[in-house]
Amino acid sequence: MRHSVEKSKDRGVSRRQFIGQTLKTACGVGLMGMGLGFYSKQASTLPAMAVRPPGALPEDEFLGACIRCGACVRDCPYDILKLGQLGDEVPTGTPYFSARTGPCEMCEDIPCIPVCPTNALDHALTDINEARMGLAVVVDQETCIAFLGLRCEVCFNVCPIRGDAITLDYQHNARSGKHALFIPIVHSDACTGCGLCEKACILDEAAIKVFPTHLAKGELGKHYRLGWEEKEKAGGSLVAPDAKHEYHLPEGVRYDLQGKGLILDAKSGDEIPVSSNPLDTLNRGLEGK
């Protein structure tokens, strides 16, 4: 039997067989490649709640650079980083963290970055405050208790860049009429997306969440010019000289459009040109008739 096998080997394959076999394999592998390629597009979408480590390249570049070695996971002192596993929504083998359960503690020396062998975590990032892992967003003003007029400020207080990344905006509490609302405001120019605020949010489901920046941010159309900025740049109005607005008010009365409203310049009570009685205004010109 071995002899016959040997003989058929000696005879070799015909050109027809060879080409047929090659085409078959090439087509099979080609189809497989198409399948893998398309499936990979789906499998490569990072879910909104998975946050990449600091310094991670933009997602599409990251997936070409990260070789799934897990070195960053090993050198994270707080053990917050995980690798995506088959069946997870995160692309298999790539590092991420979940802000609600384990946020980035923003180590000053950023130990996860220098161990990355391929620059998937950009070694140029040396100041953790410059990291942009995502952006915190106060996603629900209906449940955030600050909007209900209760004192909380937990997100503001745990923020590692407190006062810059999250500030408190004092607003009038219209419900009670006499209290203030302490509204947390996130500033994208300072927020690193570390997720400490999301972790700390006292709600059962956090009202402040870290999202990938592209999901969290709006973007003004490129053609927009903000008049006041352009004016400042140019040192004056660009369209026409600012004309003083005339209201044709009685003497001693001015009007401020931006807040104060009607301003009475009167020196004494007698000189007030407008009566305090509204009927006088309505009946103006009818006196003695």
């Binding site: 040997e6 390629g37 990260c66 799934r68």
Partner: protein, 307 residues
């Protein structure tokens, strides 16, 4: 194959004893487990020896090792690797160039244990099936894994690669990757003999190309003692590599198994009751083959004994 064959390896166990007849198999399993163990002491006991996984690792904070296949894919996707990654890849390339590329497959890769189990079961159960896949398919798949990052800018193969997924799974958590490994096992058991490692796996194909020039080879030094029991063919994961060296004396083919597909697993050495095979240095063997006489054959044996 004329005589009624005993179960594979029985003659070897009878003549050499169980231990000697499983020597290389045991060493290989120890090597595979040792590699996994080096990565597991950290997460399990807090003693950090090797960090990372087979894609890239840092051992004792000094020795970087990088998988050349995956680094190549990331370079094709447009990455400039860092110094550690490059040092690591050079070390790995040199190592496998010397010992044989597919030494990775049989001595390191964790999937080998799965596919070995499948082919052992296949032999036990006497399963045979016409294999639909040619052994060269893996080189096409290798090409595919290199084209995909070029086309998509992303390391697509790593979303599917059972090799890295198995090892990463053991070290970092398996997730659903066991399904993939079960798939590989069933594929090897029922669909194609050595279907994954021998026909499809692009990682093996890459290492196989790498081992093209490696000096460490199995050689059938005592091929005239072969009694045609066929045990080596039965256990060899790349059985096509054996015949020229074992049976090619008449055609003037040397006794060195000169195929990069050979994984240097040493199972043929184990199961041969006649001790036909040994590990040897290919280049030394080739020199001897030029003047092949019974004297030089004796010298050769002595050389290999010394080695």
């Amino acid at each position: 194959m004329g005589k009624t064959p005993l179960p594979v390896g029985v003659e070897a166990i009878e003549s050499k004893g169980w231990l000697k007849a499983h020597q290389w198999l045991i060493l290989r399993r120890l090597s595979q487990l040792l590699v996994i163990g080096l990565f597991l002491t950290g997460p399990l006991a807090g003693i950090w020896i090797a960090k990372g996984n087979l894609a890239y690792s840092m051992t004792l904070d000094v020795l970087p090792l990088t998988d050349p296949h995956i680094l190549l894919q990331s370079v094709l996707a447009g990455v400039n690797p860092h110094r550690d990654a490059i040092v690591g890849v050079v070390i790995v390339l040199v190592f496998y160039l010397l010992v044989g590329g597919r030494v990775f497959c049989s001595w390191v890769c964790p999937v080998n244990m799965v596919t070995d189990l499948a082919s052992w079961l296949r032999r036990k159960l006497g399963l045979r099936s016409a294999t639909p896949l040619s052994r060269s398919t893996r080189y096409w798949v290798l090409g595919l894994t290199l084209v995909l990052p070029l086309a998509t800018g992303s390391i697509v193969w790593e979303l599917f690669n059972p090799v890295s997924m198995a090892f990463r799974g053991i070290v970092f958590g398996l997730g659903m990757a066991w399904v993939l490994l079960l798939g590989v096992f069933l594929f090897d058991l029922f669909v194609a003999r050595e279907g994954w490692c021998g026909r499809l796996c692009p990682v093996g194909a890459f290492y196989s190309l790498l081992g093209h020039w490696s000096p460490v080879r199995v050689t059938a030094v005592q091929r005239e003692k072969c009694d045609d029991c066929m045990d080596c063919f039965a256990v060899c994961p790349e059985s096509q590599v054996i015949k020229p060296a074992l049976k090619g004396a008449k055609k003037g083919i040397g006794p060195v198994i000169d195929f990069a597909d050979c994984t240097n697993c040493g199972r043929c050495i184990d199961v041969c009751a006649e001790d036909v095979f040994r590990f040897g240095n290919r280049y030394a063997e080739e020199k001897h083959n030029l003047s092949e006489t019974s004297e030089s054959r004796d010298q050769q044996n002595r050389f290999i004994d010394a080695a």
